[in-house]
Amino acid sequence: MYLELKNINKSFAGFKAARDVSLGVEKGSLTALLGPSGSGKTTVLRIIAGLEAPDSGEIILDGRSVNELPGSQRGIGFVFQNYALFRYMTVYDNIAFGLQVQKKNKKEIKERVVELMELTGLAGLEKRYPNQLSGGQRQRVAFARALAPNPQLLLLDEPFAAIDAKVRGELRLWLKNMIHRLGVTSIFVTHDQSEAVEVADQIVIMNEGQIEQSGTPLQIYKRPRTPFVAQFVGDSSVIEGYERFAGFQRVPGADKAVLRPEFVECFRPDNKKLAAAMGAMERGTIQEIVFKGHCMELTLSVQGAGLRAQRSLERRPVQLGDEMMVLIYRMYVFDGENARLLENQELLKIPPDQVPAAQM
């Protein structure tokens, strides 16, 4: 582990911003600290950077405790949420600042700044001031500025929050590629799960100052361990009385379940290929159709519950009030503390090649 936090606690005037936070980050990896606002993710990032001191716990960087080391000596690059560019300095001076402070010689500084400006696609903008740049360019300057002194660890606080939606997608991939190319260990804070999933190698989900779960994006998606994660990740909705649906039996202690649209599929009743799976399906009627661009999102009324499912535009068109066969593949059920995956039991009984899928 390159960075390790051990049992970090931090309160601000009675508000517990971090409770017993422990996490590890591998060298060269890109980690997302994901959580709703007020979940303590920025506090954890600032503690790693040395901008806040933890009330208790240990920060271990590259094998040694850095609790007593000021942030400036931890070998960290920090990208602030609104970039905090020096607004009275040119782009060049912004990027050069960290090296100038270290009293590097002029030639060395110039080489490094030029190199970084090429790398980040800012060449030609060296004389501009931050207020003469677009949001995406500012982010690149902030990134280049943080990288200039060759940090071992790069920390980014909501790096995409200040950028409009269209450019954001591009920048995410750019940043991901750049970080992997440079091999610098990085941690970024975000409240946007799609951002975390798309960019990160490892996701750490935080809620109310605690870590709920950490793992790869796929693990977090497929195996949410806590009710919070099951509900926070994906396009989730909570239903009660899940045992009324075919193929699902009540799990003792667990009264609620989380469903995502991708767990539900619906078919026209005249579909010939459904025969084997009839016992795993329910009847439902279409209550609502929302056009999402790449697909339709249907809300189906099944046994009094509203279930959402997506339907490809390539499939046969449907209308409001149509009766459909609804198949629930799986769901997450949870009690007070734990979430677990529940597969449709009826579906497990039929041969895999007979399980109905969206192509049918």
Binding site: F80, A84, R87, Y88, M89, G98, V101, R145
Partner: protein
């Protein structure tokens, strides 16, 4: 459509202009006219008179010292209350404004009690040969106190609006406090600082109440321009009094011009 048309001089504008003319411009014109009433030769003689010259010199000296000291301390005060959190920060912010809410005469009296003959400090200072009351140090102290808030008040809003991010970024890159101040904070506040300095200068030159108590009115020694004007006036030497007043008026107008230049430049710098 007539109703939506804006008249060039609606009633409030006329009232404001009338008020400004009566209470601000007219008295100034009268001062100048009175000063020059016996001809330009007499005017020049009046303002080059020995005691007037000495009073002018003392006022300028006091102003320079006061502005320098207050610039340094005003900066520190504003920096401290906006960039650090510590217990008593709010109280300190309020305390900075104290001289604005206390009558200058009262602050003069307070200094008299602190440094005067009845105070234990008096003997102590006497021992090292420093005379505060009825001497130049007293005048400087009184003026310092009265003009203290002008610089920090101008800077506190600017500094707190700026936030701490840029400073934190600089500190994380290993910059020391002086580098941070000089390269990150100062460019941001320089126009408001200059503006504060100009206001402080204007106020320091004109201070009467507190200085009047501590000065002792020794002609040629502890008389500042405003005190000198009062003495002349009390001796019924009106044309001299007005001539000396015109110096202060001219200085005030200069300050006003500087002020609007700075405001203009500062706004351009922001854009």
């Amino acid at each position: 459509m007539k109703k939506t048309q804006t008249k060039r001089f609606p009633l409030p504008v006329i009232l404001a202009i009338f008020f400004a003319a009566c209470f601000l411009v007219l008295p100034l014109i009268f001062v100048i006219v009175q000063a020059l009433s016996q001809g330009i030769g007499a005017y020049l003689a009046n303002i080059t008179e020995e005691y007037t010259q000495k009073a002018m010199l003392l006022t300028l000296k006091t102003t320079v010292v006061v502005v320098l000291v207050n610039t340094v301390f005003g900066l520190f005060a504003a920096w401290t209350v906006t960039k650090y959190s510590f217990p008593g920060r709010k109280a300190l912010t309020t305390l900075i404004d104290l001289p604005l809410s206390v009558s200058p005469v009262i602050s003069g009296l307070a200094f008299l009690l602190v440094f005067g003959r009845t105070s234990p400090l008096y003997g102590l200072l006497e021992g090292i040969g420093l005379k505060v009351v009825y001497a130049v140090p007293g005048i400087v102290l009184a003026t310092l106190f009265v003009t203290f808030p002008y610089i920090s008040r101008e800077m506190i809003p600017v500094l707190s609006a700026q936030g701490r991010d840029e400073e934190e970024a600089a500190a994380l890159m290993g910059a020391g406090w002086f580098t941070i101040f000089w390269r990150v904070t100062f460019p941001h506040i320089k126009w408001s600082l200059l503006y504060g300095v100009v206001l402080c200068t204007a106020r320091a030159m004109g201070e009467f109440g507190a200085v009047s108590i501590l000065s002792g009115h020794l002609r040629g020694k502890t008389n500042t321009l405003p005190l000198h004007i009062e003495i002349l006036y009390n001796e019924f030497r009106y044309s001299e009094a007005f001539a000396v007043s015109s110096i202060l008026v001219i200085l005030a107008l200069l300050v006003l011009v500087l002020r609007s230049l700075i405001e203009h430049r500062g706004r351009k710098g922001e854009a």
